[in-house]
Symmetry: C2
Subunit: 307 residues, 2 copies
Amino acid sequence: MTNKTFVFGHKNPDTDSIVSSIAFSYLRNKLGDTTEACRLGNTNKETDYALKTFNFDAPTLITSVNEGDNVILVDHNEATQSVDNIEKAHVRMVVDHHTMNFKCPETLYYHAEPLGCTATILYKLYKQNDVEVEPNMAGLLLSAIISDTLLFKSPTCTEEDRTIAQKLAEIANVDINTYGLNLLKAGTDLSDYTPEQVINIDSKLFEQNGKKFKIAQVNTADVNDIFKNQAYFEAAIDKEIKNDNLDLYVFAATDILNANSKIITMGTKSNVVEKAFGVSLDHNTATLENVVSRKKQILPNILNNLD
Amino acid sequence: MTNKTFVFGHKNPDTDSIVSSIAFSYLRNKLGDTTEACRLGNTNKETDYALKTFNFDAPTLITSVNEGDNVILVDHNEATQSVDNIEKAHVRMVVDHHTMNFKCPETLYYHAEPLGCTATILYKLYKQNDVEVEPNMAGLLLSAIISDTLLFKSPTCTEEDRTIAQKLAEIANVDINTYGLNLLKAGTDLSDYTPEQVINIDSKLFEQNGKKFKIAQVNTADVNDIFKNQAYFEAAIDKEIKNDNLDLYVFAATDILNANSKIITMGTKSNVVEKAFGVSLDHNTATLENVVSRKKQILPNILNNLD
């Protein structure tokens, strides 16, 4: 029986969740801890591109934890987004950049900052602990910042994200814009995916006052390519709504070149989206101008309008 | 209309709450922020001794905040322990060492560590930001660590609290044991207080599953001196129970020399205390051997046994 601590990001891992598990596990181990980077689901193509470019393996896949397992959460804090059986585990640390919905009967290390990306916080923790950020690790952290901030276009992006991304690009010796567009484009290749798979690439479940909803998001360089299959997406979303008893489902295809999002919205609470963004749904769809961030734009607007 | 941010610790402030509001406000202002150290109640004699020794004024007294006020919480995170109207304020940051019961619709800076004292975390934040800890500030931070750890005797005290206290003592140029005992003894002078006042020197309200309870604690070098007035204390506690609709009240007189606590327990849920500590109450009282910490010993045992 090992005393190893599992470090993981949220379900349906995006690049920041994968990168942060690798980077924080590495830092903890450098400081004398015994941890293993894990992931709660398959990596997406964008993440695969980053891992391949900077020579990292994907973290170990886990789907559940056992009673008393030691865990460290990165890039999330809500139980609904975490590993199965999280309530039985001992949460030792949390490093995150999301809104908090966290209750814990013990005192733990909890570090959250209102930054665009967990990787930005991790860079600061490396500095604070005098642990060197090596070129490949710098490239990995940079990838997470580019991914979470949509190459600095998202309103979640802060000055500190930009400054630290610049430092990381220098250490990794890459051109931010060239590498950044390649990374984002790698993530928009959906040719191998069915609509069921596409909506689950990066989907998060939320709850407020007993109302359950999911917001799924994909990046794309060609919105029309996705919406030509709208009927299939609607069928996939309808199935999710029934299976998970959802009141609302929002699927956002975010245009990385024009910085807006076209959405498909279904569920009994679809009117919440119309109210939240001042739009009228046309065959379940609408275009949200200048909306690229689930965390800072889509989610809070829905929460504020959901009764 | 100023944009100043109010920095404060919990209600019924102890030395750590007062010291942390002063020390974190100073640090934030050094970093270009505009903040003011505040307190939510009167300072106790122990805190007064520390403030006088190291030449600080008590922070500004506030009892409520207005809609949209910017606030920073130190040494607490639960709304029940915070300023009145906290739900209307904008919480920018939290620096704490307690268990978390915090929900916030926005992303904020939240830094908690499982250490004995908020002041220990603050020392690390000064270092991290390259802000010098001057001798008087060092003495103040040291006072908070001595207070919260009962001169390192509490099970909440970690190796890091000890190490940092040592560094602070060197900067402040004081002998830890001599100053520490003087500080703790200053806090045990209850001669000016009525029993009503004594139980409110350091009292915290908790809730679990709709059950409300308070745990009050005072340090003493002479337990018998307190218990000769037991009937008055019981009357004061009874009044609190009725006024606040409490299910349980625990008043702990903690012996700073022998490191144990004699308690008075009242309320319909008094049996929880018997179960929690394996003791039989004798005229509402019991002695809890080796129990000195509300946070690490009294509170979790009650929470675990309260149904």
